[in-house]
Amino acid sequence: MSTPVLQIENVSKRFGQTLANDNISLSLDKGEIVALLGENGAGKTTLMSILFGHYVPDSGRVMVDGQELPAGRPRAAIRAGIGMVHQHFALAPNLTVLENVTTGTESLWSPRSRRREARAKLLAISERFGLKVDPDARLGDLSVGEQQRVEILKALYNEARILVLDEPTAVLTQIEAERLFATLKDMAAQGLSLIFISHKLDEVMSTADRIVVLRGGRHVAERRASETSKPELAELMVGRAVSRPVREPSDPGDVVLEAAAVTVRIGGVDRLKAVDFRLRAGEVLGIIGVSGNGQAALAQLLSGTAAMASGDLLLFGQPVDALSVKDAVTAGIGRIPEDRNKDGAIGEMAIWENAILERLSSFSRHGLVDRQAGMAFAQTIIDTFDVRGGSPASRIRLLSGGNMQKLILGRNLIDRPRILIAAQPARGLDEGAVAAVHERILDARRQGTAVLLISEDLDEVMALADRIQAIVGGRLSPPIPAQEASTRRLGLMMAGEWEGETAHAV
C-alpha cells in the first residue's frame, strides 16, 4: 500500500475545561473523499483548524506525504498542498474575484502584481474543474454558491492537493449543493483528495467513500459508505438511537388565517403574487420551495413587517388591512424567523432580555423593567424547552444554534400561540436538535396551534405537514394533502409544475 496523502496521528487539543479533540487519528488516500461526520461541538472544526495550522495541538502530529507539518503555521499547510474552504467564507466582498484568489500568492515585496498570468492560471483551473466565474466581478455581487466556488478556486490556485470543506452545504440551496457534490466527485476523479465536514446524513452517504464519525471530541467509528446505513450513522453520531418524530393524524379545527389573492411588493418588486392559502387550527401547512422564491415576504407579511399591496387577509375570520408587529403579537402569532442570528435574537444581550423583548410591557413595573420576573420567565423557558449551555443572565450569542433555536421556540410556544409562523426552523441544526424542534412543533399542533411551516427541506415538510403548497417565484401552488406527496411530486411542484392540475382544490 502506498503512503496516504494525509495522516493525522493522535491529535489532542484542550480548550480550558473541554477536551475538543481526544487522541484522534485519520488518514486520507489520493483521490479519496472522506466525510467527517459529527454533531455541532463534536470537534470536527477544531481538528481541521489544527490540520490547517490555525491551532497548535497539545499533542499529536499531521503528516503530508509522510512529511511532518510544522504545527500552527497556515503558510506551511498551504505550501504542503492543503486548501481550506471555510464555512464562513474567508473572502472580501469589496474586492474582485481575481484579487480574492491571488492575495498572498506572490512575494509581498515584488514590485508588481502579475495580473495577466494570474488571470490565465485562474481561468485554466476554472475550466479544468468546471467552476465558472468572472475574474473581474466584485465578489459581493456574486451569489452564495458562486462565492463558494471562488473559495474552492482559491485553494486550487494555491496548488492544493488536499481540500478540506467545512460544512460546505450549510449555506447552499439544494440545487447548488447537488452541483457542488458533482464537482467534488469530479475533483477526486482527477486525483485530488478531499475531506468534508458535515452533519447531514444524506450528503455523507451519497458523496463520501469513507466516513469518519466524531463524537464528543473522540473518533468513535469509521465506515465505508457502501457498508453502512443512515440509521447506523445517526446512532453513531448522536450516541443513541434518534428518530425524527412523525405527525399523527388529527382533526383540524376552524380556519384561523386565510389569504385570498394577496400580493406583497418590497422594493418595487412583487415578492408575493396573488397567493391563496387557508390555515386551520391544529394543522401544519407546509410551504415548500427553494429559498429566495418569496418565502421571506410571506413570513414578513404574517409577522407584520411587510405590507400587503392588494388582496384580502382574514385573521380569525376578520379582515385585516395592515398587520403591524404589535397586532401580530397581540393576536397570538408566534414567529420563528429564518435567520435566527439576525432577526431572532440579539447576540450581545442576555438570554432573559431576549426572552422578554416582545412582551416588555408585561415585564415592566412603574416604567422599569422587572428583572427578577424576566429572569424567572427565562428560567421557565430554559427548563421547559431543555435549553442547554446558558443561564438567564448569559449572553445568547454563547448558545449553540440548536439551543438558541429552542429558546426562540420556547419564547413563542410558552404562551400557546394560536398561530405559529416557522421559517426554516431546523436549518443548520444537528440531528438531535432537529428532532427536538420537530417534536415541539408537533406538540403545538396537538394543542391546537395552527402552524405555517416554511421550509426547503423535503423530509421536514413531509414529516410535519398535513397539507403542502409549493412556492415558486412568489406564487403558491394549490395545496396537496400530505399522503399524496412524494419526493418526486414535490420536486415537480418546486419547479413550478402544477399548472393543469385542478386549481384551488382542497
Binding site: M84, L91, T103, G104, R112
Partner: protein, 314 residues
C-alpha cells in the same frame, strides 16, 4: 462677477492652491493608508502638530531641512507605533485611542517646545524651503508661476500620492493591505499576518502625517506655534472618505479643498468691505461638506475598518 474671474485667472491663486494642498495631500495619504489596513487613525491632528514642532526644532538646532522632514516622519511613526499597540495588539476602540493620541501629541509638542525654546516676544524662525527653479518649465508663461514655482516638498507630496496609488492597486503588498482592511481572517487564511500588516500601515501612515505637519513649519511658514495645524488633520480624515479610499482621488480632493481655501482668501480682499470675512472662512468647509455628501454616498468603506482582529475569533 469679473472679480471672481480675475481671481481664478491669476497665477498666484494656483500657486497658493498647490501650497495649501501639500499638507492635506500628505495627511490624507497617511490616514488613507491606515484605513486601508482597517485602522482609523484620529491621532492625525496631534501627530501633525508634533511633526510640525519636531521637524522645526531639528532644523532650528542645525539640521538641514530634509533631515527635519525625516525626523518628523520618524516621530510620526513612533506615535503610529503607540496607536497600533493600543488598537491592534490590545484591540482597544480606535476612536478613543486616536483621540487620546491627538490630545497627548498636541500637548506634548507644546511642552517640548516650551522646554527647549527660550520664551521670546517674537517666535524664533528658521530659513524654510525656497521655491526651486526648474529650467524650462518655471519660465513658461502662467503655468511657470502657477504650477512650477513650488518648494521641493510639494512635488514630493504629489509623487508620493502617485506612488501610493501604484502600491495600493498594483502590487502584492497593496493587495495584502486592502485584504487586511476588508477581511483580516481571509488575509490570515492566505498566509498573511494581519497584525503585521496593520502595524506596518499605521506606522507608515503616521510617518506621512508627521511629514504633513513638518511642511507647515519647514516650507509654508518658518516658525512653530501650537495651534498652527488648525483642524487640518480632521479635514484629512474627511478627505479620505471623499476620496473613497483611493490615493489618486485623495490628491484631487486635497487640491479641491485647497482651491476653495485659496479662493476665499482672495475673495476676502475683494469683497471684504461688504461681507463679514467670517463668511468667507466658512466657504471651503461648506463646499467640502457638499462634495463629501455627493461623493461619500457611493464610497465602499473597507469592511473591517475599526474592527479589532483577534486570531481564531470570528
Amino acid at each position: 462677477m469679473s472679480a471672481v474671474f480675475d481671481i481664478i485667472a491669476s497665477a498666484g491663486l494656483w500657486a497658493a492652491v498647490l501650497r495649501i494642498a501639500t499638507p492635506l495631500i500628505l495627511g490624507t495619504l497617511g490616514a488613507l493608508l491606515c484605513e486601508r489596513a482597517g485602522v482609523l487613525n484620529l491621532g492625525i491632528e496631534g501627530i501633525m502638530t508634533f511633526g510640525a514642532m519636531i521637524g522645526w526644532l531639528a532644523v532650528y538646532n542645525g539640521a538641514d531641512l530634509w533631515t527635519g522632514f525625516l525626523v518628523a516622519a520618524l516621530a510620526g511613526g513612533l506615535f503610529g507605533l503607540l496607536h497600533a499597540g493600543l488598537t491592534v495588539t490590545l484591540g482597544l476602540s480606535q476612536h478613543v485611542s486616536g483621540l487620546g493620541v491627538t490630545l497627548f501629541a498636541s500637548s506634548f509638542s507644546y511642552y517640548v517646545f516650551r522646554l527647549l525654546v527660550p520664551v521670546a516676544g517674537t517666535p524664533p524662525t528658521i530659513t524654510p524651503f525656497q521655491p526651486i527653479h526648474i529650467p524650462g518649465l518655471s519660465d513658461l508663461p502662467f503655468l511657470g508661476q502657477a504650477v512650477f514655482s513650488q518648494t521641493p516638498p510639494t512635488y514630493a507630496a504629489i509623487l508620493i500620492a502617485l506612488a501610493l496609488a501604484y502600491l495600493v492597486f498594483r502590487t502584492p503588498l497593496g493587495l495584502a493591505i486592502r485584504m487586511t482592511g476588508e477581511n483580516p481572517h481571509a488575509a490570515e487564511a492566505q498566509g498573511i499576518n494581519p497584525m503585521v500588516v496593520r502595524y506596518g500601515a499605521v506606522i507608515a501612515g503616521s510617518a506621512l502625517m508627521g511629514m504633513a505637519g513638518a511642511f507647515l513649519t519647514l516650507s509654508a511658514f518658518n516658525s512653530f506655534f501650537p495651534t498652527m495645524v488648525q483642524g487640518r488633520g480632521w479635514i484629512c480624515i474627511a478627505l479620505v472618505v471623499f476620496a473613497s479610499w483611493r490615493p489618486q482621488r485623495a490628491l484631487l480632493g486635497a487640491l479641491l479643498f485647497a482651491f476653495f481655501d485659496g479662493f476665499q482668501l482672495r475673495l476676502q480682499t475683494v469683497l471684504g468691505g461688504v461681507v463679514p470675512y467670517q463668511l468667507f472662512l466658512m466657504i471651503p468647509y461648506v463646499l467640502s461638506i457638499a462634495a463629501l455628501a455627493v461623493m461619500a454616498r457611493r464610497a465602499r468603506v473597507p469592511q473591517a475598518l475599526m474592527q479589532p482582529y483577534r486570531r481564531g475569533e470570528r
